[in-house]
């Protein structure tokens, strides 16, 4: 199964990865706040992930690593 890791502390919660994901795997964690004061992106449906790295391609802060 593909593995997507976020450097959560650097996330600005812009949501571009959430929109880029073709499978709707990601979400903005509204109940969390990171060091920068933003609600970070996180994986919601790991089982649906196909490891396409579209999220990482659109991430402006380059905080996503994708392995598969």
């Amino acid at each position: 199964m593909p593995k997507v890791t976020f450097k959560t502390d650097l996330c600005k919660g812009c949501g571009l990865c959430v929109h880029a994901c073709p499978k709707g795997c990601l979400t903005i964690a509204q109940d969390k706040i990171n060091q920068k004061g933003y609600s970070p992106a996180q994986m919601l449906h790991e089982d649906k992930c196909i490891g396409c790295a579209f999220c990482a391609t659109m991430c402006p802060d380059c905080i996503i690593t994708v392995e598969k």
Binding site: K12, G15, L16, A56, V66
Partner: protein, 249 residues
Amino acid sequence: MKTVFQKPKSLTDAPLHYCPGCPHGIIHRLVAEALDELGIEGKAIGVAPVGCAVMAYDYFACDMIEAAHGRAPAVATGIKRCRPENIVFTYQGDGDLASIGMAETVHSAARNENITVIFVNNAIYGMTGGQMAPTSLPGQVTQTSPYGRDVKHCGWPIRVSEMLATLEGPEYIARVAVNNVKNVNAAKKAIKKAFQNQIDGKGFSLVEVVSACPTNWGMTPQQALEWVESDMLPYYPIGVYKDRTEGAK
């Protein structure tokens, strides 16, 4: 497990100061990936602009120089002529390249200086708070055009790529966008080609990247990318405007 995607080595670990959803980060990454893939990060020298990307020298893991506003192509010309073995690139916004630095840009293109120019066009002055830029669209609302850009009063936005492509000088002029995954991947190819041209000694290569400014456009990051597709790309069409080796497409 095989790593499909990770941060390129040519980007430092410094957190980017850009606003949430600012595509500058994507374009920084594309430049860094081109440096990595061509194996030139050790001999690359970047020239940072004045504008939102003014602190780009903190983000690229190669040598960087800060130029006065708009003068990056002139500074790059000097570096390249003194050190032809180095790979010299500039990274400039539209307020920098298309306004105060237009003369430097046009003349470096006309001289076919062997440098690479990354031109980020987001149709607004970002760092100074959202004033009208030479590339702001007709009718676009900015801080200095609150009723929309009136072309009778302020003139028409400048299509830099088309204009430079009319010159005999430059080797490669292309316009790309970063509003979706497909366009980001195409942008990466164009940026890599612009660096390859310099390695091959072919001459002036400029890649105009149509970008967004969610903060100053007053939109969410996703809405801003949709506005790029619906409003900016019709005025600034994607394409290769000049390619002396292969011909424009």
